[in-house]
């Protein structure tokens, strides 16, 4: 659509009525709009975080997004555990050997220049991979220093991060999320709502040349910044994205100046999903009474009062539109005063690649062929081949195939052996139940923090499981960040029953995951040992106790090193018995000062 014509958005089922906050915008229409805007300005918007389980709705969105890309746009899909060589580029071994000189292989990031990268299962992406992606994002190029190659190659692309995370703890890393303008959630879109898209490639192609000419005023930028502040969005990238998106939308609508409608779209698509709190309520301004929002917190009032009054009216309108787009679930969370916890690294069994056999300190060379996960040591291979060159050339010449190339045979292949110090992960399973909490929770926290400090020095990971009430939860998936560990400890509430078996189960699952990845888990259970809630959440001391002991025996059978810290005021037989069944070291807290604890943990970890 290159000639002025009917507004394509109007033809759509969910008509984006300007500034009419609320139910007019279906999440699906917004998701489609995001795909269009991302395609108009891929570099300026960074891309889309698409939270959705695989299925027809997600497929529909992806096919719309792909159809919108102008012809020739590179599309690349990056799998979860992409190797550095493939991601960034490296030495193309076959071509190198063939040509007799180093031949570089392009990485995926470079291949995607000017296009779109789809990131599969992005919630589980290895931190290193995410960091490499972010670096290319920030610098607009891939800086390669690998395998004797040095290259800087421009690489600008948009990312569609497919987030299949379930629950609050699983999701994209904050660093990646921050770099993507649009955060979409499609899990609640029904299949019959996922209708076709009215925008076409022509709309995109028509909007792109208009984009550089779109003007946004200072007052409009101020409005967006103000809303970001009011919604408690700390990152400045959000405000920058919002202004880019407003411009892209204006370009789409064939305007050269940003209007209120464009700002409302930016607020809805960029700012709303990032909100960490509701905007403070203003004393009702005489202009337009905003729709009532009765349960709003009022604590930040003074902050917004010092703002200049002039663009206030506009800002209120946009803010209302934005607020209406904040998902209901988030509102509920905010009202409960629960802060959105920082999205964690992937938990579970296939999460990390840290311990892959291809990492770590090189420790010698083996003869053999490169197989999955093992890298050919080119230098050693060449060296192995070197002495034979003359002989082989003469052989070839005799066979009538003279050649001056290097003659490499299968026998020459060498692979590097890596020594990787198995990383230990200390998993704290903390009893936060009433019986324990009242007496000892504070002390237990203190002890955990002291241990954390030590884990930190040793560069180990820590994880934290708490159990209380009906069950157990992972408060902190394995991490090295002391900052995060302390934060989740500070938020550890106490009270309720003692589902000891569930706690041990969950700790054991984490430990098992660590073991499977080649790490060494250490399980530290801090409890008074008095279980009174069974696995299914029902009360009953006897069964709860039996289950706890059974769980403890499982720990022993999996050979997970463990330590039981008895947090009861006086050492109880239950704690000792638990430790015995678990094959764990037993340590009553009254006798344990920080040093003793440390030594015990060290001894347990081996």
């Amino acid at each position: 659509m290159s000639t002025p014509g009917p507004n394509p958005a109007v033809a759509d089922g969910g008509t984006p009525a300007p500034l009419q906050a609320g139910p007019g915008h279906s999440p699906w229409d917004d998701a489609v709009l995001a795909a269009v805007l991302m395609t108009i300005d891929p570099v300026g918007t960074g891309g889309v975080a698409l939270r959705a389980l695989p299925g027809p709705v997600r497929d529909q969105w992806l096919s719309i997004m792909r159809d919108l890309q102008p012809e020739g746009t590179p599309m690349r899909r990056i799998p979860l555990h992409v190797a550095d060589g493939r991601l960034l580029g490296g030495l193309d071994l076959a071509a190198t050997l063939n040509a007799g000189r180093p031949v570089a292989e392009k990485g995926l990031l470079v291949e995607a220049d000017g296009g779109v990268i789809e990131l599969s299962m992005a919630e589980r992406i290895a931190p290193g991979t995410a960091a490499r992606l972010n670096m290319a994002f920030d610098s607009g190029e891939v800086i390669l220093e690998r395998d004797g190659l040095t290259m800087r190659t421009p690489s600008r692309f948009a990312v569609v991060a497919l987030d299949e995370g379930v629950g609050e703890d699983e999701g994209l890393s904050n660093a990646l999320l921050d770099r993507l303008a649009f955060h979409l959630e499609l899990n609640y879109v029904r299949y019959d709502q996922a209708i076709a898209c009215d925008y076409t490639v022509e709309d995109v192609l028509a909007a792109r040349p208009r984009l550089p000419g779109v003007m946004i005023t200072d007052a409009q930028v101020e409005t967006l910044c103000n809303i970001a502040l009011a919604l408690g969005i700390p990152s400045l990238r959000a405000s920058i994205f919002a202004s880019r998106v407003a411009c892209a939308h204006a370009a789409l609508e064939e305007r050269t100046e940003v209007t209120d409608e464009d700002l409302a779209v930016a607020g809805r698509l960029v700012l709303a999903p990032r909100a960490t709190r509701l905007p403070p309520m203003e004393p009702p301004p005489d202009a337009e009474p905003p729709p009532p929002e009765p349960e709003e917190p009022k604590q930040d009032e003074e902050q917004s009062n010092q703002e200049p009054q002039e663009p206030q009216e506009l800002q209120d309108k946009i803010l209302e539109a934005t607020k209406a787009a904040i998902p209901a679930g988030l509102l509920a969370q905010l009202q409960m005063g629960k802060l959105r916890r920082s999205r964690a690294r992937a938990t579970g069994k296939a999460g990390a690649v840290r311990n892959a056999p291809s990492r770590g300190r090189p420790a010698g060379v083996l003869r053999g062929e490169p197989r999955a996960g093992q890298r050919l040591n080119v230098i050693e291979t060449l060296r192995a081949a070197a002495p034979w060159q003359r002989i082989r050339r003469e052989e070839r010449a005799r066979a009538g195939k003279p050649s001056s190339r290097l003659e490499i045979r299968q026998d020459d292949f060498r692979i590097t052996r890596f020594k990787h110090k198995s990383e230990s992960t200390t998993i704290f399973v903390v009893d936060a139940s009433g019986s324990s909490a009242l007496h000892r929770l504070a002390e237990a926290k203190g002890a955990v923090e002291l241990l954390l400090a030590d884990c930190y020095v040793r560069r180990d990971q820590v994880a934290l499981v708490a159990f209380r009430g009906q069950g157990a939860e992972v408060l902190l998936p394995p991490t090295r960040s002391l900052v995060r560990a302390k934060r989740s400890l500070a938020g550890l509430p106490g009270g309720g029953g003692t589902p000891l078996a569930s706690g041990i189960d969950l700790g054991m699952m984490l430990a098992d995951g660590v073991q499977r990845r080649g790490g060494t888990p250490v399980l530290i259970v801090m409890t008074d040992g008095r279980a009174n809630v069974a696995r299914d959440g029902t009360g009953g001391r006897t069964r709860a106790n039996e289950e706890a002991l059974a769980a403890a025996r499982m720990v022993r059978s999996l050979e997970i090193p463990a330590l039981v810290i008895d947090t009861s005021p006086r050492p109880q037989p239950q704690g000792r018995e638990l430790a015995k069944e678990m094959g764990a070291v037993y340590l009553p807290l009254p006798h344990a000062d920080a040093n003793a604890l440390n030594q015990a943990v060290r001894a347990t970890a081996g």
Binding site: D178, S235, L236, T479, V483
Partner: protein, 342 residues
């Protein structure tokens, strides 16, 4: 290569900008670690600084050797040439600012057999790595806390000795490698190894600005830059040139700046009060206070200079106390207040 955002156009983040300038004025301060929130212009500042560093004199060799350096800090080639001719010819070159990207392999960092020559000519030659390229300049590591352990090990060794010793693939090479280490990262992604943290002279914590005017300005400037980088750089050229001259002047003034005994004494008191390990903290405070004095055109280092830079020089050297919620920044600030008053 993409055009870097002009250093002088970076809004707020005064501590970060000042620390980078001081490291440029006196490389012996030991580099800068910039840790903090996402999207605060960490990498932007470092790339911007590279664009305005004054040129330096260097010998025309692989390592940009300093013609004035003693034999220990010359490469083999230059040492031989100096012994023969008595002096070394030199020219003006830009100060190298070298990126150490994540995913770099060890052969590219410390140097290795020159693959091309080995493959095409069958020769055994050394191909210098990033450490060689960074000699006398800056080595920048973004997301330094995600750097692989074995690379950190090589880095620590070289940063401590100022020499890179390569013994691999039948090669035996030693070359000078003195550089200012600049690292940036986000603590949420993981902690930094203490040994590496200690290598940095200054550490800066950056936070996203929370006041509206600053935030607007950032968004505005960023938008303008993205629209037309060339025009934007042109617009800020004069201001960047001014910063560049400031660095140059300060470098010249630095040897003349004096540190009175009283300043030394107060610095020692501060370090004792904070219980910093070793003398490195004290030395860094004095050196950076001197660089700050030079930057401001003062010839004498006063307690005020010390007060200004003490937090950056000391906050990462305090022993960690996981139970102290207040954090190291406020611990240093508290100590300054108690010692020097306000």
């Amino acid at each position: 290569m993409p055009i870097p955002f002009p250093f002088s156009a970076i809004v707020a983040q005064e501590e970060m900008k000042r620390s980078l300038l001081m490291a440029a004025i006196d490389p012996s301060i030991g580099g800068v670690l910039v840790f903090g929130d996402r999207g605060t212009g960490k990498s932007t500042a470092i790339r911007g600084l590279a664009a305005l560093l004054p040129k330096m004199r260097a010998v025309d060799c692989t390592y940009n050797c300093d013609p004035e350096a003693g034999d220990d800090y010359l490469c083999q080639e230059c040492r031989a040439r100096k012994a023969k001719n008595g002096s070394l010819k030199s020219r003006q070159v830009p100060v190298p600012v070298v990126d150490l990207p994540l995913g770099a392999t060890e052969d590219r960092v410390i140097g290795a057999l020159d693959l091309e020559r080995a493959l095409t000519k069958g020769e055994k030659a050394f191909e210098p790595g990033l450490l060689a390229r960074a000699h006398r300049g800056f080595l920048y590591i973004d997301e330094v806390n995600l750097l692989e352990d074995h690379l950190v090990d090589s880095l620590l060794d070289v940063a401590a000795s100022g020499q890179n010793l390569v013994e691999r693939e039948g090669l035996s090479v030693r070359h000078p490698a003195r550089f200012v280490l600049v690292g940036s990262g986000n603590p949420e992604e993981g902690e930094l190894r203490p040994q590496l943290q200690d290598r940095f002279g200054l550490s800066v914590e950056v936070k996203t600005p929370t006041d509206l005017t600053t935030r607007m300005k950032v968004v505005r400037l960023r938008d303008e830059f993205e629209r037309d980088p060339e025009a934007f750089v042109e617009k800020w050229k004069t201001k960047d040139a001014k910063v560049s001259r400031q660095i140059q002047k300060a470098k010249k003034l630095l040897p003349e700046v004096e540190v009175p005994d009283r300043t030394l004494e107060e610095t020692a008191k501060l370090c004792i009060k904070l219980g910093t390990d070793g003398l490195r903290g004290e030395l860094t405070v004095i050196r950076s206070a001197r660089a700050l004095a030079a930057l401001q055109g003062d010839k004498t280092v006063t307690v005020d200079h010390v007060k200004t830079i003490a937090v950056s020089a000391l906050r990462h050297r305090l022993r960690r106390d996981p139970l102290d919620e207040s954090g190291s920044t406020s611990r240093v600030e508290r100590a300054i207040k108690e010692l020097f008053g306000e």
